[in-house]
Amino acid sequence: MRSYRSRRIAGAAGIFWSFACAFVAAASLLLILGYIVVKGGGALNWQFITQLPRPVGITGGGVANGILGSIITVGIATLIAAPIGVMTGLYLALFARGGFAESVRFLSDVLSGIPSIAIGLFAYSLLVQPFKHFSALSASFAFAVLMLPLLIRTSEEAVRSVPRTILEGALALGMTTFRSTLRIVLPVAWPSIMTGLLLSIARVAGETAPLLFTAFGSQFWELNPTNPMAELALQVFTYAISPYRDWQSQAWGGALLLVMAVFALNILARLLLKSRVSVLR
């Protein structure tokens, strides 16, 4: 007969161990963040954000072209992915039936697990190799493919969560499905769709692997998406593995910028979600 005391001690030890594991997981994030803030903060200054990189080995310069390039690339990616992803999500929520719907959902899930470097290879063979030319556009394509699963899933859920009675009421009044979707369902579902959009942007904002052979990077200002373009994540990577102290500290600065951007998007997405929940109440 096991004594109650030993069982209680075992239970307390188990609960404590579980807490310790959760604590370690959370503490690691704070540890990493701490380093980034401290080391990155040191590199952040006006020069860093507004200047072009200096040639190899010369100190100073900044990542301004990378910031701009990332914004352009992610922007174009959003323009490509948002219509396809949201409309596919709408289709799944409103019209798709049975096997076809299940297959699309399954493939979307599968796509979300495919390594980004494989997607990068896809973009390379489709948009770089035929033209023998690196471009930000090919990077945007790779990013768009990475964004699709999240967009599809969140859009479908957003529309599904609108109570059916609202849609049916509109249809009973004689509105077309198109109009009732546009005028009635979408406004309610919009915050959730926006949340999905923000999260998918956050997902690709820090992606580096596909960029290696799509956007390729650049030392200069570039506004033309059909040319190679500087990307912040790529600069962080290149600087980090370089042997130059100055570049290494700039890598921390760039990392801090990336983390701030990604966290801001995530927190914004959460706030949006919370506001929508309170609206529905």
């Binding site: 992803g85 979307s108 198109f178």
Partner: protein, 315 residues
């Protein structure tokens, strides 16, 4: 009057038909993209497939100079680093999920979950940067020597430590995938109905016994699925790995040794590939990653869905 209403109806029918067609077209575009992915990667691998055939998988030489490419050292590095990652992330992640699901007071559970989920949002290159400049030196100067002191008789802890290598990569990967394990496991555990817990406790079990002997066994499949899903992420991780694994295509027993993974070799060498066969071999590695990730992800999703479906049918 009736004619006008009829006209309005047929007009609206056209609008609706167009609407469905456009949405359907979007779904088709999505499917086309996926098909394109598989097709392009296969096409790019054809040369390498023809040159090396299945030998590719067990040739242990990766030599751009002699143009002999074998994936074995890369497969080895990928598997070992991912294995380390899921052992670490599995232990910490599952117990963290247990704590967050049933034992954490609500005021603690929400912020802790939030922080752990934020870990998932950190870009890979940032993990790599931290791994390279903070973890690797710590491994080289403190942790690896300590491990060698205590466990040095084991071959996996033999040899010199450079800081970068399989073990360091495994730790960085573990940090990157622990949010996946925790979040999904916690969801699966929460799906187990309350009345299971009540039955156990009304029979005299403590909360911990209830968790370990009733709830976790019932959630077993889903938790396993969460770990497999995390494994899928670790296998395909590129940038963080390439920054801390040492990038040497050799099979060594020691965990301190530098190594190479399927994804990192593509990242490092793609833009330097000089010959067609070189390029094709790299694309074939990408195809390998694609196939492996599809299998692993498919298995993971099926496992997790079985628990969700089971809980729903029990209602």
């Amino acid at each position: 009057m009736a004619a006008r209403r009829l006209g309005a109806q047929t007009g609206s029918k056209i609008v609706d038909r167009l609407f469905v067609a456009v949405l359907f077209a979007a779904a088709i575009v999505f499917l086309a993209i996926i098909a394109g992915l598989a097709i392009e990667l296969t096409r790019g691998s054809l040369l390498s497939l023809k040159t090396f055939g299945f030998r590719f998988l067990w040739t242990s030489e990766w030599n751009p100079i002699t143009n002999i490419f074998g994936a074995l050292p890369l497969i080895y590095g990928t598997i070992i680093s991912s294995l380390i990652a899921i052992v670490l992330a599995g232990v910490f992640g599952i117990f963290a999920a247990i704590f967050l699901a049933d034992f954490a007071p609500r005021a603690l559970a929400r912020p802790l979950s939030f922080i752990i989920e934020l870990l998932a949002a950190v870009p890979s290159v940032v993990f790599g940067l931290w791994g390279l400049f903070v973890l690797a030196p710590a491994m080289r100067t403190v942790i690896d020597p300590a491990l060698q002191k205590v466990f040095g008789f084991l071959p996996i802890f033999s040899g010199p430590s450079y800081g970068v290598g399989l073990l360091t990569a495994g730790v960085v990967l573990a940090l990157m995938i622990v949010p996946t394990v925790t979040a999904f496991s916690r969801d699966v555990i929460a799906t187990i109905p309350v009345d299971q817990r009540e039955a156990s406790m009304s029979l005299g079990a403590t909360r911990w016994e209830t968790m370990m002997k009733v709830v976790v066994p019932a959630a077993r499949a889903g938790i396993f699925g969460a770990v497999i899903l995390a494994l899928g992420r670790a296998l395909g991780e590129t940038i963080a790995t390439t920054m801390v694994i040492g990038n040497r295509p050799e099979i060594a027993v020691s965990l301190f040794a530098p190594s190479y993974t399927l994804a990192s070799v593509i990242a490092n060498e793609f833009t330097e590939a000089t010959t067609d066969v070189y390029l094709s071999s790299l694309v074939e590695l990408g195809l390998l990653l694609l196939i492996v990730s599809i299998i692993v992800n498919g298995a993971a999703r099926m496992l997790m869905w079985s628990v969700f479906r089971g809980a729903r049918s029990a209602r």
